[in-house]
């Protein structure tokens, strides 16, 4: 049963008890919170995700309302991972972004059964696109735009690479948009941007782009990587596509590998293999539509080349 069917009241009751768990990609995450604003936004963000009952839980997350030490009139959201608080503390109204960020941290420090890459991943026609890129590159906005063009969302934050197969596993979560991007996407697809926007975070205004039901429903279907794109957004920039050599592609992957050191030699081979079997490009752009078209044509081209091989 998905969260929207489960209903808000049930979700609220379970979340207060610490018995609310959701299937997020390959992970079952228990969410406990006593903060109503957080519950409301989570209910919207994860509306298509399966509620886990009696399943195995990978990690226990909690966002609890506490008094700020020394300031009893101020309520803070304390974020706990597996019952431990030393993660994050935020104003209560920013509980959701704090929880989302902490969940990323929890997964990054636990999911060593995968080779973890920092970057966005999407799929079309059975092939995965990876965008390993630093913050500010525009990858999140680009990922959201590609979703609107029918790409299946794997993640805007983490690529989970299966060591045995080299395939990427989906971990679809709400895409965090910042500042202007929130308004741009809301104009294009109002139903896809969550109602709550969070002001005054370290990154400015944060809003969330909602994955579609299909991406969530198919979150157990991996795909092999075929295309690597490094987006580089520049204000008023011209659109340029530059192919990247395999060594550059490898460099890009290894720079963004979160737990490469955990996978040792096998991890190295995996990344080299990925660099060899994919085509890599840098796309410089100023208008996201240009970048989207560029990605689409590269993907189509990639499909044709594969057919020829």
């Amino acid at each position: 049963m998905i969260l929207s069917e489960f209903g808000f009241e049930n979700f609220r009751e379970y979340a207060r008890r610490g018995s609310a768990a959701l299937a997020l990609g390959p992970f079952n995450v228990s969410i406990r919170t006593d903060i109503d604003s957080c519950l409301e936004s989570l209910f919207e963000l994860y509306r298509h995700n399966e509620v886990v009952s009696d399943g195995f839980i990978d990690v226990f997350m909690a966002a609890m309302s506490r008094m700020r030490p020394g300031q009893p009139w101020r309520r803070r959201a304390f974020i706990y991972i597996d019952g431990q608080f030393d993660v994050a503390m935020a104003p209560e109204r920013l509980a959701t972004p704090a929880l989302e960020w902490s969940l990323n941290l929890a997964i990054a420090t636990r999911a060593h059964e995968y080779l973890l890459l920092h970057g966005a991943a999407l799929e079309k026609n059975g092939r995965a696109l990876i965008m390993p890129a630093p913050p500010g590159s525009g990858k999140s906005t680009l990922a959201a735009e590609l979703c609107l063009r029918g790409w299946r969302l794997f993640s805007d934050e983490f690529c989970l690479v299966q060591p045995e197969t080299g395939r990427v596993r989906p971990f679809p979560r709400p895409i965090s948009l910042k500042n202007r991007s929130i308004d741009i996407l809301r104009d294009k697809a109002p139903a896809r941007v969550a109602s709550q926007v969070f002001d005054g975070t370290a990154k400015g205004r944060v809003g969330y782009f909602l994955p579609d039901a299909q991406s969530i429903a198919r979150q157990r279907e991996p795909a092999p990587p075929a295309l690597i794109v490094l987006p580089q957004w520049r204000e008023n920039g011209e659109c340029r596509i530059d192919p990247l050599a395999q060594t550059d592609a490898y460099g890009l992957l290894v720079t963004n590998a979160i737990n490469a050191d955990f996978h040792g030699v096998e991890g190295f081979r995996l990344l080299v293999g990925a660099a060899r079997r994919t085509s890599a490009y840098k796309i410089s752009y100023g208008q996201s539509e240009d970048a989207v078209s560029a990605v689409e044509s590269l993907a189509a081209n990639e499909a044709n080349c594969e057919a020829d091989r």
Partner: protein, 362 residues
């Protein structure tokens, strides 16, 4: 339920005693097994135990993935430890005396079950007390430096504990502890390192030596209950259990262990460790000690410390577990220091800013 029964019933302990139950356990139980293992840095050890029992393929997929992750992580920690040991070997190239590996490094290099999946941050070695200064000089020359750099802590270690303060490698940050005895400073009788070295055996093809199986086991028992802050030593109980289970293969191990413990005046400690390992982890050592629950205030406090946490957010620091850990810490220092000094020491620790610890470190 008694204290012991409560802990026995905890999912992690049940899973350890009867690994096959993990195959049919329900979602919440499995979640707690994985959770409690994570909290005690025992995920790798548990995963290997399940692998050895041939159960991996039958595990619930989510739980299995978690166990796979633990194995990957532990393998990397082991690689790092191997590398750091090589650095120490290079540093001691000019030192011709005997150097024994202790604890994690020993288990790993001896290929013992206790070393499989074990997360550890420190490398512990033992040398003769008379050679301590030479070894200290050699490692400092090679880039190690004392981790506790303030004069109070230095004095604490050298004068009250008669130990070298812990060392840290300048570049890698690897931790090294150089010991000259396995007995904690609180014990009435000092265990002569010469006796340990005399009974030690060389590690094939290496410059290191290992304690005899009996001494290794006794050391694990001593370390379990005496060394410094006890909180977080749950891992050591599992190591101890692994050791006695593996050494049980030789029928003469049990009696030898008992005899050696008596000789080193560690009989009571061994007793406590055996009883705890038996009652909580089902580990037995034939001929080493009678089985049965551990009694006494120490046992009660230790069980409190061994109680695995729950995934619910911890509200207040003053839980039963923390209080027990604190009491045990006080107790372990009671005989080392005059009361006034102890009071001051504890106050200092309380107000000192916590330094971050490395994974696997207690």
């Amino acid at each position: 339920m008694t204290g012991a029964e409560k802990i026995r019933a905890e999912p992690l302990f049940r899973a350890w005693r009867a690994p096959e139950t993990v195959v049919t356990a329900d979602g919440m139980t499995l979640s707690l097994v994985a959770y409690q293992a994570r909290a005690a840095a025992l995920g790798g050890k548990l995963a290997h135990r399940l692998k050895r029992a041939g159960l991996f393929d039958q595990l619930e997929p989510g739980f299995r993935r978690r166990m796979e992750a633990e194995i990957v992580a532990a393998a990397r920690i082991a690689d790092i430890a191997k590398y750091e040991l090589r650095l120490i070997e290079a540093a001691l190239a000019g030192f011709e005396g005997e150097v024994l590996l202790l604890k994690g490094a020993a288990y790993q290099n001896a290929g013992l079950r206790a070393g499989e999946g074990r997360l550890f941050g420190d490398i512990d070695i033992l040398v003769s007390r008379s050679r301590l200064q030479d070894v200290e000089k050699a490692v400092i020359e090679a880039g190690w430096r004392f981790a506790k750099s303030n004069p109070y802590d230095d004095k604490y270690y050298r004068e009250f504990m008669h130990e070298l303060p812990p060392l840290e490698h300048g570049e890698t940050g690897g931790h090294l502890d150089i010991h000259h005895t396995i007995s904690p400073p609180t014990s009435r009788v000092r265990i002569d390192a010469e006796k340990l070295i005399a009974d030690s055996a060389p590690l094939k093809g290496a410059r290191w030596r290992l304690l005899s199986p009996e001494d290794m086991t006794i050391h694990a028992a001593l370390h379990l209950f005496h060394d410094g802050p006890v909180a977080g030593h749950l891992r050591e109980l599992f190591d101890f259990a692994d050791l006695i289970e593996e050494f049980r293969a030789s029928p003469e191990f049990g009696p030898k262990l008992r005899a050696r413990a008596e000789m080193l005046d560690a009989g009571a400690i061994l007793d406590l460790a055996l009883r705890m390992a038996n009652e909580l982890l089902g580990a037995r050592s034939d001929g080493a000690a009678p089985e049965g629950p551990a009694r006494g205030m120490t046992a009660v406090l230790i069980r409190q410390v061994f109680r695995p946490p729950k995934p619910a957010p911890r509200r207040f620091p003053g839980t039963g577990r923390d209080i027990a850990a604190f009491l045990l810490y006080v107790r372990s220092h009671w005989r080392r220091m005059p009361p006034l000094m102890l009071g001051l020491h504890l106050l200092r620790k309380l107000f000192r800013r916590a330094t971050p610890s490395r994974p696997g470190e207690t």
